[in-house]
């Protein structure tokens, strides 16, 4: 699965595709006045080109949506990484406490409390969350 950084790269890459769509966006403004005279074809072909150009605008929206999803996933991945870091700290603390507990268990002059249950490793909310 991609990391937060990779998701950010995807978002950037997707937004960069808008430039490639510019050539198609303008095709809807093309008319066939300089091509045909008569025949009944022009309205259909011009209409088809306008539909295509309009679909390009829908595609732009979809691309932005996709890029937004990638941004959002990057943030969720970041959040999970933070959670993992926090968990690692808690785990280290717990492990240290456990070691102390066993080390001083039989020493009457030193008291080491029981560290409690082992901290549970965070589980990613989604299966695409990569802990890197």
């Amino acid at each position: 699965m991609p990391s937060a950084e990779q998701f950010r790269q995807y978002a950037h890459q997707l937004r960069g595709l808008h430039v490639d769509l510019d050539a198609t966006s303008t095709i809807g403004a093309a008319d066939l006045t300089g091509v045909f005279q008569g025949g009944g074809i022009a309205p259909i072909v011009e209409g088809g080109l306008r539909v295509a150009a309009s679909t390009v605008e829908l595609l732009r929206g979809e691309i932005d949506l996709l890029a937004g999803i990638c941004d959002n996933r990057a943030e969720i991945c970041d959040g999970f990484v933070e959670e993992l870091r926090a968990w690692e700290l808690r785990y280290d603390e717990w492990y240290e406490g456990l070691q102390k507990f066993y080390s001083y268990k039989d020493v009457p002059t030193v008291y080491a409390p029981w560290p409690g249950a082992k901290p549970a490793r965070p589980v990613p909310a989604f299966d695409w969350v990569e802990p890197r």
Binding site: L14, T24, V35, F36, Q37, G40, V51, L66
Partner: protein, 728 residues
Amino acid sequence: MSAVYIDTEAAAHRVERIEQARDSINSVRGPISQVCEDGDLWGESSALWLVTEIDEELGLAADILRLVRDGAVMADVYNSQSQLGALISRLRKSIVDRRGAVVAMVGDTALSELVFEFDRIDTNGDGFLSLVELQAAASAPHLSASARDAAQYLCDNPELQQDMITSSLNFVVRIVPGLELDVIKTAIANNQALRLLADPSLYGRLDTGAGIGAEDWTISLKDIYAAKDSGILSGLEEAAIDQLLKSGEWSNITYRSGTATFDDIASKIILRQAFVTNPVAARDWVYSIAESGHVTWADISGKTSGIDMFKISDEGLRALVATAMTATTSLKEEVMVVASIPESPGGVRNELITYYYAQLALEMNEGLNADQPNPLDLSAAGHTGMNWMAMGPWASNSIAPVIADDLRAFGFNPSDADRQYAADGNQYIFGDIAIRYAIFNETFAGKVPPDEATLKRFFTDMDHPLLPGRRLFEDGQRQLRDGFVHYLAAANASDPFTRQRHAMFGNLLIATHEQAGAQHALEGITDLDAEDGFRVFGEVLDAIPKTNFMDDERMATNQMELQVGMGDDVVTHRMSENIEYVADPDNLVQRSDIQTVLNPEPIDVVSVGDITVSLDGQPADVSLEALRGWSNPPPGSNMDPFPTDAREWIEHGASDGGYAPGGASALAGSRAADWSDPNNRQAYIALLFQQSHTNNEVVAELSELGPGSPWGQRFDYLPKSIRSAHRN
């Protein structure tokens, strides 16, 4: 069946462009696919499905053009069993499936849909689509939504429908119950021809290209046949001309005379809604009307008549404007569209002019008073007061009944001459000033204080956006240019009186400029015995000596009024009555002497913040050329000198009550006896502006002329994106 001509080279070029677009589309497929795969994003987006759809649509369009280029039988368009017909059928399905969301069923698209669905709409099978059948089709569940919308389109546009039928009859006297299939097909072909003829360069070649006659924007049959014989037309152009000749449309365009003026061609293009399927083409054609000089404001004198409003269809004009507006990207471009279109008998353009005056006035108000908590409160301390355009909507709205032939106007029915003069004057002032107002707002918005480079660019270097080879300000426009300098001075001054005073200078200068340009139209309106081709009894009236009881200018002036505000709140100023004096403590210029303190004429250096601006070429931070103004019109401008000095207005223009500087008695002589007399008129206007300078009644209801108001509902035909962008 209409004649068919294909420019194979142009077709091949279009195929190439479409294939390039396909390449671009397909180039995004890989990256999207990769991201979806790597990021487990399948199911999150329909992007790839859209890529496929676009590719298919473009592919079909390219394949159709290839078949046509290679000589496909054009009659097969309507035969779905043929290769061409099958492709057309598939592409049409794309349009029909996406109807409403993408392709509006208007213009040729709607006509084409009616051709395809003709047999299903012609329920009685008589070979005609009657109005009853079209109305039934508009809500028939057995038809597709596209077919229903196409039928509704014709029902909504009776002038278009009627003209298609009338044109098909030509010289044959018969009664027909509706539209025949061939009439619709011919209308589509004729619209193609009209779009080609709409190009002023083709029009110009037909006019004089064969070396016959002068450049008079009139095309006779002799011009046409000479052009055809001399080989100056492309095959496509020749086919277009042939299409109009053979279908009988040329005869209709020329009212059977064989000779077409630019007005004839333009009016047919508008009536037939030839451009309503393509916003960019519609906008560009509208602009070309101005670029080719067919607007009153292209002639600096205002003496050139506009396009004959009586030839223009109201419904066609609305459709054209709505389409062209879709392709505009700023208030300036919207103003350019309105300034370029002709007027129609219902006053469609006048309504738009009123609307855009209000928009610009509000925008200018904000621009000049950016530091004010409420720019609409003219009476607030430190406000510049009214700008010239705040009066514009009301003046424009006041002549609406004249243009639209409303009985209320002038107390009697305005003649056709009055209506055309009023429309021409309305367009001249709007086109001349509103475009520059919009550019001013765009240039200086948020730039307080402006820098020297921006000042120089706007006042000396900028080209006019619609008049090729002409600067934004040129000889003759001294008052107009200087008015804008004073507005900047007002916006950048800190002293409250100085702010109001400079705004007044700006108002008086721009009012002087516009009144000089409107002189010709006003003389036309007030001179009831003018020999202008409109008035049958001109000579008879002219022979009657003017008396107190028989003075046409005085009679017309007595009927004139300016209504400020809407509905019950309207304040009526009658030009033949003295302006009322109502003491207004917020109006710091109310009691200033208009001949000296408020007279902009002697001023030749203005401070815009810390920047000194010379108005006559003298050394300064920004030195503007000493342009000629209307007191000294440029040679060849066809203008008579017009008084620009407030001293002259009051001395020669104030009426019998006389003028005493500084007080209420100054207004005793403000009434106008003859509105066509420049000094008489200027004295009235100057004093009205002075007294109204901080009167909130002038601006309070400007928003009533905007979207969302009852009055504004008349603009429901404009695209929502345009209306929602405006101030209300």
